[in-house]
């Protein structure tokens, strides 16, 4: 990849994620987070939740891909933060829930870019929402942002950087 020219206001290519019950189970095993609110509707409802929720850390981790796909190397990420503002409820069907991820560069200081990430789900249940529209979507992450080091060879460092500190 060639050098990445970055400017404040740049929009990153949009990302649409899908999370299903199977995906939640996959993340539970990978992360070893077996909290029953992520696999049992009964347990979730006992705690006053509407039903099984995706792991907040799945949402946060999966959404970071919009940044790392853009800058190429995950090693360029200096920090990443988010609030969990709205749970992602996942029905027991084959379609799952789509998470619409957008991001833009909001600040550039030297070679450090601030990237604000926006992640939303349809506010209504998927079977009722049709294709959905942005007005009916709710934010699932609050104030999500990453600081990314922009280098001329970003995009080529991921495999070469394996042994060294950033």
């Amino acid at each position: 990849m060639s050098a990445v020219a970055v400017a404040v206001g740049d929009e990153l290519p949009e990302l649409v994620l899908t999370i299903t019950r199977a995906g939640i189970v996959h993340y539970a095993g990978a992360s070893t987070d077996f909290n029953p609110i992520h696999w049992s509707d009964r347990k979730a409802r006992e705690l006053g939740l509407p039903g099984v929720l995706a792991h907040g850390m799945w949402t946060m981790g999966a959404c970071l891909r919009i940044v790392t796909d853009w800058c190429g190397s995950p090693s360029a990420v200096l920090d990443y933060s988010a609030r969990f503002t709205h749970p992602v409820q996942v029905p027991d069907d084959d379609q799952g829930v789509r998470v619409f991820v957008t991001a833009r560069v909001t600040e550039l200081v030297g070679d450090i870019a601030t990237v604000a990430v926006d992640a939303r789900v349809d506010a209504v249940q998927p079977e009722e929402s049709g294709t959905g529209n942005s007005a009916a979507r709710v934010k699932v992450l609050g104030n999500a942002k990453a600081h990314v080091r922009i280098t001329s060879d970003v995009g080529a460092v991921s495999s070469q950087n394996a042994g060294g500190a950033l």
């Binding site: 909290n35 891909r65 933060s81």
Partner: protein, 143 residues
Amino acid sequence: MPIGPEHVGRSYPSTAPYRVSRAKIIEFASALGDDNPAYEQHEGPLTAPPTFAAVIAASAWGAMFDDPDLGLSLQRTVHADQRFDVERLMHEGDDVTATLTITKVRNRGATDMVTIQVHLATVQGEPLCTATSTLLNNRQVAE
């Protein structure tokens, strides 16, 4: 006595070393649906996704939830926010320990807002990541 501001600064012994494995990196990246080449099969050590730090950080939570002074319960806890400050991403083969410190406590009615920092480092002492979490713990009502 529930957790309060007087517990700020309390720290727990580091967790036993966790060996970051090639298989776990591949499994975790796959669960995120992330096919970045850094996480996929190639020669040389794989890099773990930045948020993999949460997996090892969470292994340090147990000591705090088991602390009888604090009255916390994981079952009554909601994860409110999360931050990762990366020194370097973890790689396959790293042996990582996690050390938890309570950095902020606010009591709001029946809710305890607890901010914790978990420092991840190699057993050689190289800092890897600080994972900062705010947890909302709902105290049992019958007090």
